[in-house]
Amino acid sequence: MSSITIGGLLRRPEAGAALGLVAVLIFFAIFGGLTFLKPAGMSSWLNVAANLGVIAIPLGLLMIAGELDISVGAMVPFGAMTVSVISGHYGLPIWVGVAAALGFGVIVGLVNGILVVKTAVPSLIVTLGSLFAVQGIVLGLTVLITKSTSVALTVEGPAKAIFGDFVLGGQMQVMVIWWLALTALYIFFVHFSPFGNWIFAMGGDKVSARNAGIPTDRLTIVLFILSATSAAFVGMCQAILYNSAQVAGGQSFIFNSIIAVVVGGVLLTGGFGSVVGIFFGTITFAIVTQGIYYTDFDRNWSSLIIGVLLLGAVLMNNTFRKMALSYTPKKGARA
């Protein structure tokens, strides 16, 4: 498309997410005023969006490739607990804890990926298994080592500033910067570098993609490593930020990231979606969960809004996808 047209924008995968975001912004602007768009209000939902977004994008890429990873729900506490036990309980240098947390992320991702590739068991089942297995490891090992389900961690210096501090006046988490930087990186790799094409091809038709010479097995494993490591990273940063880690928690990331991805226009069966869409979907989700505090509504209603939003977004995305499929340029419309 040489020029930007309304039709052209609507056929993009992120169209539904962008419209949903606008709708949510208008809704909360009417019922809650503009407080949530002022710096103090913004950081409340930006923090939620950042922690979710760092996990949602790699999860979204897996979904574009036709897979799913719900073990992220266990990887968040696993990452948090690893860094806290190593650098808090045992008092080893923080960088050892950071390396271990990310290293375990790589290992779990590798196991997930290899199991999915070698056994051809649906990835939902494989990662459901690893979700519970990792939860068991976290709880079992933590209690065995520390005799407690909560471990304190004190981090100072550069590690604190890089992974778990507040920036810009002390309310916005440094994770927001990570999220924005990673989003930019993902946009480059998925939409501009040739590798992105492979992910879409895998989700579209795995056998054809393999026959076309795409290393589908290796790419699948890399994507699983990416999602597990990202989840471990978020957990690790949260532990450094809040100076402690709990064995529970993290399960909310499973559904929340899937919602962000689906609202963001990714097709559940794979082959369609965009990083920008996931980005919008994440912000939309965060604004709904946080914006409710700025309105007179009871916060319990936010789940209702999210549910309606999810269904609305999916229906809207289906419509736009059909438009994109049936689109034929009019004769003479282009030179």
Binding site: N197, G213, G271
Partner: protein, 272 residues
């Protein structure tokens, strides 16, 4: 006599105790279309999989340009210039024409780690390749493949194979799911591929389509070549008869045609 581009010499294939193909010998020369006819279960698909490297022959050899070759993987077959196009085109419905055309060999611009996918060039090359095959309705490389008709998808897949240097084109029932007009498109493209000197293996069970493009015909019945003949050596009735493995199909057709001839072109009423 020219050496065939691809040839099967006494190929057998069995899966465990089940013999699927017995002693198949076939050859295709450049600029020739071999039509592989056969009913469901005759072994056509297995034969394609042998040629495209999905399976390997149990005994016997595959030759290219007179030399024995083996394809341990689909990739090896495609590296040797063998392209297989499946019934639904094997393309990606939600990808743009340009992107799906260059899957795995994306053109890039820029340098080092900042190499980016060259959308303009990909689209231009893809559209030109398809238009060269006579499908002029495709003129925008940003359109999604899923928005194309079945015939256009087939054409795109064939154009892609030819663009990337295929010498042997294996078409697996390309016209099976298509309407009459769409099928004509695909047959025209098969003729164009033939004109360009490709060896085409055309798998079908529609005798009419086979007769429109074929130079050479082989009928498979229960894993063996039941007949092997050149264009014009057999009539449509004889071929149909062979495919059905007996006189039943031909006599049924004759019966219906006879009925229609004596009843102003009306087909017989359904039996009760």
């Amino acid at each position: 006599m020219t050496v065939p581009i691809i040839a099967l010499r006494g190929v057998n294939k069995s899966f465990g105790p089940i013999d699927v193909l017995h002693d198949i010998s076939l050859e295709v020369k450049a600029g020739e279309v071999l039509c592989l006819l056969g009913d469901n279960g005759a072994g056509k698909s297995t034969l394609i999989r042998l040629l495209s490297g999905v399976h390997q022959p149990t005994t016997g050899t595959i030759e290219m340009d007179g030399k024995p070759v083996s394809f341990p993987s689909p990739r090896a077959a495609s590296d040797n210039g063998i392209a297989t196009v499946h019934q639904f085109g094997g393309t990606f419905p939600l990808m743009s024409i340009g992107r799906s055309f260059f899957i795995g060999v994306e053109p890039t611009k820029g340098w080092g780690p900042f190499k980016i996918y060259d959308r303009k060039r990909a689209n231009a090359v893809a559209v030109k390749a398809v238009q060269d095959f006579g499908i002029t309705r495709i003129d925008d490389g940003d359109r999604l493949v899923g928005g194309l008709s079945g015939g256009e998808r087939q054409s795109l897949a064939i154009a892609r194979a030819v663009h990337f240097g295929a010498r042997v084109l294996i078409l697996d029932e390309p016209t099976a799911a298509l309407g009459v007009k769409q099928a004509t498109h695909v047959l025209r493209i098969v003729n164009e591929a033939k004109r360009r000197g490709l060896a085409v293996v055309f798998i079908t069970h529609q005798v009419m389509h086979a007769m429109a493009v074929g130079d050479h015909f082989a009928v498979l019945i229960r894993g063996a070549v039941a007949a092997d003949f050149k264009k014009g050596e057999k009539s449509r009735e004889e071929i149909t008869d062979l495919m059905a493995g007996g006189a039943s199909m031909a006599s049924l057709e004759a019966e219906i045609e006879g009925y229609m001839a004596s009843h102003d072109g009306h087909p017989p009423p359904p039996a009760h």
